[in-house]
């Protein structure tokens, strides 16, 4: 193990480590803590210049205010409406592409795989004008469907990379055995491979949920009104309205950050597995 386990060090070093850990964490999360504190600060505190001291009262009213006087509830609903179908679509498509590229040997296998991988690295901006134009022509501009379709297509690149690597690592004997028994190929996919992919599906779902929830660029390019905008794009416009009302900006930010954060803490094991399994292989 590297570095040397701290239990083997002197008591002084152990004590120092024990103190350093929370101190480092406090510094690391300082911006977050500041915003969390501001979000429960009454507006009068800010007006009186009490920016860092203990809040004079816990003003949960800021949160109530945000929900009552801004469309943030609608924005959050829109985010869910864009995120959940994307997760389902991208994961479904990529179990299929991953299966095709992970199991079968054919000449264009590697080129197709690397086409997906490369597409995944492309800067969004090169896609922006044509994708926007395409969405307008489909009559899907400023709709959740338009946003979802693009996200599914783009995420399929990353998901394929992930799924294919996962399937490659499965024991091949299982598939060979099924073939010897005369099982049809699609049944191998459905009854043999898919059940084994459960951990990958879970990991990928959590990851894609976070990516799409946090997407800001496509949200601003493809949606424009409060009825369709996800919360990231919504926060941008609210930030413009709430100039200097930092208690509201903070409360809004915390609300917008909550779903992926909750997802992360509930599904932590899958999340980390996803990030590293797709990557460090």
């Amino acid at each position: 193990m590297f570095p040397r386990p701290i239990e083997q060090s002197s008591p002084a070093a152990r004590l120092a480590y024990k103190v350093a850990l929370p101190a480092a964490l406090f510094l690391w999360l300082l911006p977050l803590l500041g915003v969390a504190m501001t979000s429960i600060r009454p507006a009068s505190d800010l007006a009186a210049g009490n920016y860092f001291g203990w809040p004079s009262a816990v003003a949960l009213s800021n949160y109530a205010d945000v929900f009552q006087n801004s469309p943030i509830g609608q924005y959050i609903l829109n985010s869910f409406k864009a995120t959940i179908p994307t997760v389902i679509g991208a994961v479904a498509l990529s179990t299929m592409t991953g299966f095709a590229l992970g199991i079968y040997k054919f000449r264009s296998n590697l080129p197709i795989f690397f086409l997906f991988v490369a597409g995944n690295f492309v800067p969004f901006q090169i896609l922006m004008v044509p994708v926007r134009d395409l969405t307008v022509n489909f009559g899907l501009y400023n709709t959740t469907t338009g946003l979802v379709l693009f996200h599914i297509a783009f995420q399929t690149g990353f998901c394929t990379l992930f799924m294919r690597n996962f399937i490659r690592a499965l024991p091949r004997e299982l598939i060979e055995a099924a073939r010897v028994d005369g099982v049809a190929e699609w049944r191998i996919y459905w009854f043999v491979v898919l059940p084994l992919m459960r951990p990958a599906i879970a990991a990928l779902s959590v990851l894609i949920f976070t990516f799409i929830w946090n997407d800001y660029f496509w949200a601003t390019v493809l949606t424009t009104s409060a009825e369709t905008q996800p919360v990231t794009a919504g926060l941008y416009s609210l930030n413009g309205q709430w100039i200097a009302a930092w208690q509201l900006v903070s409360a809004g930010s915390i609300v917008a950050a909550l779903p992926p954060v909750a997802m992360f803490f509930l599904m932590q094991r899958h999340f980390i597995a996803g990030l590293t399994l797709g990557a460090v292989k």
Partner: protein
């Protein structure tokens, strides 16, 4: 009856014979179709559009290389390019910083799992929220950072309003989640470091930095590769933070290529889709240098894997 029966076997045997070679294509079809329409084709279309003058609605007017000629004479383009280079160089600090935190946290003490998750926390939050947090952090007069600087030097700096410092301020905000990302990659990597080699090196008297450099880092190479890849891509894609924290300002000094492109193509200053596409093409070509490097390495690893 007999005819129908033989027809069925013929069809069945055609499928039987070719099942193995047709199945992958059937499975690939929906994914490839979507990917072709929304990702592959638009890349070519952008190249094509960059030779036109187009407002997004009306007639496209052929310009030839004019967009590019204008671009190479555009000060805002050079500011953006310079800022992108700055992003790229400084953003890569996330890799050693992430390694540092990972080493710091790679212990077995009580509650360390929770510490690791909390350190990873910034990566889970949307960049829009990160941007707002740092705007608050930097805010003149009451921001924590402003006050800290005031306390140390006697006068505060409004980072986001200073054309010379603004990009550094935004990059610092971007580093926060990126360090967390690199950290988690390295934590997993450290987990897989072979204990035997570490012990053997210890017996040989290696420790500290020497141990890190000669024994640990070579074993962490896959993690380092991915950390560099995601950091380079993140730096070149940087858009969210610039948009949310400064909108490119003050006086356009914090623009990056991705933001300038968006501004030209879609903002209130006018819909110059062709010019925007030309900027995107330049960004794409810069990215292509890195992408081909990454892909080349991945293909090499893949071939060795067979």
């Amino acid at each position: 009856m007999a005819v129908a029966f033989s027809g069925q076997t013929a069809r069945k045997s055609f499928w039987r014979r070719n099942q193995q070679s047709l199945t992958p294509w059937l499975f690939l079809a929906p994914g490839m179709f979507m990917f072709a329409i929304y990702v592959v084709w638009p890349i070519f279309e952008s190249f094509w559009l960059s030779f036109y003058d187009w407002d997004g609605l009306g007639q496209k007017v052929w310009l030839g290389w004019e967009n590019y000629v204008e671009l190479f004479d555009d000060d805002a383009f050079y500011t953006s390019l310079y800022n992108n280079v700055l992003w790229l160089v400084l953003y890569l600090l996330a890799v050693p910083a992430g390694l540092g935190i990972a080493i710091f946290l790679n212990q077995n003490v009580l509650g360390i799992r929770l510490y690791k998750s909390l350190f990873f926390f910034p990566f889970v939050i949307s960049q829009v929220v990160v941007g707002l947090m740092f705007s608050w952090f930097y805010a003149p007069n009451f921001g924590l950072f402003y006050n800290l600087v005031e306390w140390i030097t006697g006068s505060g700096i409004a980072i986001l309003a200073d054309p010379d410092l603004v990009t550094y301020g935004i990059i610092a905000a971007g580093l926060w989640p990126q360090i967390a990302y690199c950290m988690i990659l390295y934590l997993t990597g450290l987990n897989n470091v072979s204990p035997d080699q570490v012990e053997a090196a210890r017996l040989d008297g290696a420790k500290g930095l020497k141990m890190l450099w000669y024994v640990i880092l070579p074993q962490l190479r896959p993690a380092t590769f991915i950390a560099v890849v995601v950091t380079v891509i993140g730096a070149l894609r940087s858009f969210d933070l610039v948009s949310i924290m400064t909108d490119g300002g003050p006086f356009g000094s914090s623009r990056v290529l991705s933001f300038y492109m968006f501004e030209q193509a879609l903002s209130e200053y006018g819909y110059r889709m062709g010019y925007g596409a030309a900027i995107a093409v330049i960004l794409f070509l810069i990215m292509m240098v890195f992408i081909s490097g990454f892909i080349w390495k991945m293909i090499r690893d893949e071939k060795e894997g067979y």
